[in-house]
């Protein structure tokens, strides 16, 4: 076969596949609609490997169909005994060497990408560049904490990152093993209980716009009854907006004007403050930070990571957390609250905003 013909076929195979796969899934969640450098790299590897594998499947299928149709027993052949062939050295060599070549074609970019994705030098420099954004991710039973060590602020559940630049992550778990995954933006990395893992991601602005300004994040390691509900969200912002957000977070303080919300604040300070902080600047050690930081709770996109963000859902969550997230650690820690108290609390929490 002429080389250009082979190339052309491979190319068209690629494009057909890319078209097919791109129709799959949602832009805020699907690995098939890559939204950043890492996901792009992984997506091209997927396409390359799928192309090679489809080629293999086609070859096998052609031989398979031919054999099964051509050599099936026909009427009057019931007694026929075919020639007992021992094997063929030529064929053996053919189907040993060709797969080896195909695998080398796949292995080289695999190894190269594996090393590229592990390049976290910029975050580990003795003196980090001012522009390098580092986020400490701490996974806990069914919630995520995001700490920005260079800015001294902490948030939870909604990860805010600048777009079009590499963002570096330190990953760990505080109770059992979890895994940090933002499918549209890049592959996952485990948060271990033993050590700190590091990797980087890049969030593409255009893709973020297409996805509606939010990417979905998931826990990808079985961690208990509510593993399925351990979602988080990612808000990618252009760099200048991100910087503004950081400034606001640094200076955020709860401002309560409404009288009902004030009541709520009182309840909060009695029953909740032991675990939840309401200021992004939380100097307590991480062992003491046993619940999500609520400083910008009013700006968030979901209640408990999964319910639509409104007061009604918040009340539902406060009333009976276990019915929303089985096995969560908040259930039973704050006694029984009356409906009125829950109303007040919800008002107060919804007023916690930095934007």
């Amino acid at each position: 076969m002429k080389k250009w013909l082979l190339n052309w076929r491979l190319f068209s195979l690629f494009s057909v596949m890319a078209l097919l796969l791109a129709g799959c899934g949602k832009p805020f969640l699907s690995t098939l609609q890559p939204a950043g450098e890492v996901a792009d790299m992984q997506y091209s590897l997927m396409l390359l490997s799928t192309a090679i594998m489809v080629l293999v499947i086609i070859v096998v299928t052609i031989i398979f169909v031919y054999v099964v149709v051509r050599f099936r027993q026909r009427k009057g052949e019931e007694k026929k005994i075919p020639k007992q062939v021992e094997g063929s050295h030529t064929l053996e060599i053919v189907w040993t060497v060709i797969p080896i070549i195909l695998l080398i074609i796949l292995a080289v970019p695999t190894v190269s990408a594996t090393f590229k994705l592990a390049d976290v030098k910029p975050m580990n420099k003795e003196k980090r560049d001012k522009d390098t954004v580092v986020v400490n991710v701490r996974a806990n039973l069914y919630w995520w904490e995001f700490e920005y060590p260079d800015y001294g602020i902490i948030t939870s559940q909604d990860l805010v990152v600048p777009t079009n630049e590499r963002v570096y992550f330190n990953l760990k778990a505080s109770d059992v093993k979890h895994s940090f995954w933002i499918p549209a933006v890049g592959g996952k990395m485990d948060t271990n209980t033993d050590n700190k893992n590091q990797f980087w991601l890049e969030f593409d602005q255009k893709a973020a716009d297409k996805a509606g300004g939010i990417f979905y994040g998931k826990c990808a390691e079985l961690c208990g009854p509510s593993h399925a509900l351990m979602d988080f969200k990612v808000k990618p912002l252009p760099r200048d907006e991100f910087d503004q957000w950081v400034e606001k977070m640094k200076n955020a303080k709860p401002v309560v004007t409404d009288s009902v919300a004030k009541e709520g604040e009182a309840i909060f300070n009695k029953s909740c403050i032991g675990c939840h902080a309401v200021s992004p600047v939380d100097k307590r050690p991480e062992q003491a930070r046993t619940a999500p930081n609520l400083a910008n709770f009013g700006d968030r996109t979901r209640i408990a990571g999964i319910l639509d963000h409104n007061e009604e859902n918040l009340k539902k969550w406060l009333k009976d957390p276990n019915s929303v997230k089985p096995g969560n650690k908040m259930t039973g820690t704050y006694g029984n609250l009356t409906d009125e108290q829950i109303n007040a609390l919800a008002k107060y929490l919804m007023s916690l905003k930095v934007e």
């Binding site: 499947i57 031989i63 094997g87 778990a173 890049g186 485990d190 209980t193 399925a228």
Partner: protein, 618 residues
């Protein structure tokens, strides 16, 4: 001992048997039962996931069902069913009268059986294990209740059984081959059993070590996996996968062996490239130990380890590819008969190729960061385990059923089972590749609407019901056949090539009246082609030495079963420690009895053999 004395009662006979053919039936029944249990659990999983926010099985309970589905299918269904095939066939294929250690063979079965029963007792005693079949250390140590203890102790007991079985088959194949049965004349299924047994020998000890550490941590205050006390949870992952990856090959190599027999038989041709098939089997077995860390690409081992394990994993595709093409060319130029076993074998090729190629995709470490722990991986390993192993077990069951039970399974019902299962399998799992790529993590008890997962999951659930229907048809087939099946001849399919088709269906308890002389690959085929009715004997007809049956294997295993309960409840019940010690005493006592009682077996006299053989001929 006379024949009358040995015919006490059916139940007592099976409790005490050391005959490999009866042990095969025990494995088949027990493994089949657990296969139904695991299948039921799978159905529950699919019902729960049929629609978003479903509340059929929520949170912790779902995790229990999910854990037990995986654990049951691998350890209590696939493994014993593989052992059923090995026991039913391998000794006869090599021209032996039994395995090397018949007593150990029975012990292996009963250990597996009591381990499995113990594990499933958890359902009625406070809840099943809920940390996944992989039972990763941090989660399993956190898990409340006794679920994980059932997992640890149950698998420990049944793991001993598997290890004993593996050693037994190694020794049997090395030592018990009939005259002329050289290694390179062994049927492919025997070769696969041989390599699998070697894998068991090396793969199960790491699991045992891992389980002992976990038992120490959970029951005796150990700190092997507590990072705060200097332990490490990642080491469990390594130990588990150093066992777990070879385990895949422990299951799939016998499957390859079964298919090799079926392809040759129903194409009426010798296996194409026999020596390269042997070479590929050994190579897969060897490489199987070099790749475990590809289950851990996202753990954070660093790019060097990830790259090495990625390339090593890809290498396995080469010997596997060799096998696929050799099977295709076994059929090439053949005279293919589409019997039920052959349908499974033929369907296995495209199904397993799918599982194989997604395996290579998973091997690409950088891309695996996306696939890992997503439904893509769920789809991949079900293509390998169902499309490879389960197809093979169903094929093998239909193929050797006449040999094991002396009756042919109904072909029409068999083909209905096949089509239902084949369609259901692809319907269930093909779409899961895409669910994973679309961002659905595995082991989730539910998913929220609006993420694009609805259609795929619904299709998957529908597929599962097809497989359930197939299983019901299979059960009907088994029942109908047992009641009024067509009696099978020695060479039940008319095209048998290997020694098991030369003896009666079912074979007499001594297998061969005279040990056969093997004159080449496909020994029985050679004799048939030369126009002979039977095998060439390698010895004169004489008295046959047989092992005595014994209840001790049952009692030894029962002791461990009791002991496990005792030690599990040691801290919370006053009787715990005592029961634990009593259980161990029962086990050690029976082992002592076994050591001191002289047991020389018995002889079946020449006249009895002649009588029995006449009965078969007439």
């Amino acid at each position: 001992m006379s024949t009358v004395a040995r015919k006490k009662s059916l139940i007592w006979d099976y409790l005490t048997t050391v005959d490999h053919k009866k042990i095969a039936i025990l494995y088949l029944i027990a493994g089949g039962f657990f296969f139904l249990v695991g299948g039921l659990e799978a159905l529950f999983i699919r019902i729960q996931l049929a629609k978003p926010n479903n509340d059929f099985l929520v949170g912790g309970l779902y995790n229990q069902v999910l854990t037990m589905h995986g654990t049951t299918m691998i350890f209590l269904a696939a493994m014993p069913l593989v052992f059923a095939m090995m026991n039913a066939v391998v000794p006869i294929q090599i021209g032996a009268r039994d395995v090397a250690f018949p007593f150990l063979n029975a012990l292996g079965f009963w250990l597996f059986f009591f381990g499995g029963v113990f594990l499933n007792c958890s359902w009625f005693l406070g809840g099943a294990p809920d940390a996944g079949w992989t039972s990763y250390a941090s989660l399993s140590l956190e898990s409340p209740g006794h679920g994980i203890d059932f997992y640890v102790l149950g698998l420990q007991i049944s793991g001993f059984g598997t290890l004993i079985g593996g050693i037994n088959f190694l020794v049997t194949i090395i030592n018990m081959r009939a005259p002329g049965m050289t290694y390179m004349r062994m049927p492919m299924f025997t070769w696969a059993t041989f390599v699998t047994s070697a894998l068991i020998l090396f793969a199960f000890p790491p699991l045992t070590v891992g389980l002992i550490f976990m038992m120490m941590d959970r029951l005796f205050g150990g700190n092997f996996y507590h990072p705060a006390a200097g332990g490490n949870t990642i080491i469990w992952e390594h130990l588990f996968w150093i066992f777990g990856h070879p385990e895949v090959y422990i299951l799939v190599l016998p499957a390859f062996g079964i298919f090799s027999e079926i392809f040759a038989t129903f194409s009426r041709k010798r296996l194409f490239g026999y020596s390269s098939m042997v070479f590929a089997t050994v190579l897969i077995g060897f490489l199987g130990f070099m790749v475990w860390a590809h289950h851990m690409f996202t753990v954070g081992m660093g790019p060097i380890a990830n790259a090495i394990f990625a390339v090593a994993t890809m290498a396995i595709a080469v010997p596997t590819g060799i096998k696929i093409f050799n099977w295709l060319f076994t059929m090439w130029g053949g005279n293919i008969r589409f019997t039920t076993p052959m349908m499974y074998a033929v369907a296995f090729i495209p199904s397993f190729v799918m599982g194989g190629v997604t395996g290579v995709m998973n091997a690409a470490a950088a891309a695996d960061y996306q696939y890992h722990d997503s439904y893509f991986v769920v789809a991949h390993f079900h293509y390998v385990i169902v499309g490879g192993v389960v197809f093979a077990l169903l094929a093998g069951a239909h193929y050797w059923w006449p040999k094991m039970f002396g009756k042919m399974l109904n072909e029409t019902l068999g083909k209905i089972t096949f089509w239902l299962f084949f369609i259901g399998f692809h319907l269930t799992f093909f779409i899961q590749h895409f669910l994973g790529l679309m961002g659905m993590p595995r082991r989730v008890f539910t998913y929220l609407p609006g993420q694009g997962f609805e259609t795929g999951n619904m299709i998957s659930t529908v597929g599962a019901f097809f497989m359930a229907a197939a299983t019901i048809v299979l059960l009907i087939n088994v029942i109908v056949t047992s009641v009024k099946g067509q009696k099978a001849e020695a060479d039940a399919w008319g095209d048998g090539r290997t020694l098991e088709w030369a003896v009666a269906s079912p074979p007499p308890e001594y297998n061969f009246a005279q040990t056969p002389l093997v004159r080449g690959l496909d020994a029985y085929w050679i004799e048939k082609m030369e126009g002979k009715k039977g095998l060439t004997p390698a010895e004169p007809l004489g008295d046959i030495h047989m092992p005595n049956s014994s209840i001790l294997p049952f009692v030894i295993s029962l002791g461990l079963f009791i002991a496990a309960f005792g030690f599990m409840y040691r801290t919370e019940a006053s009787w715990g420690l005592a029961v634990g010690i009593i259980g161990l005493l029962i086990t050690l006592g029976s082992m002592f009895l076994r050591s001191v009682i002289d047991d020389h077996g018995f002889h079946i006299h020449k006249e009895e053999v002649l009588e029995a053989e006449k009965g078969v001929k007439a």
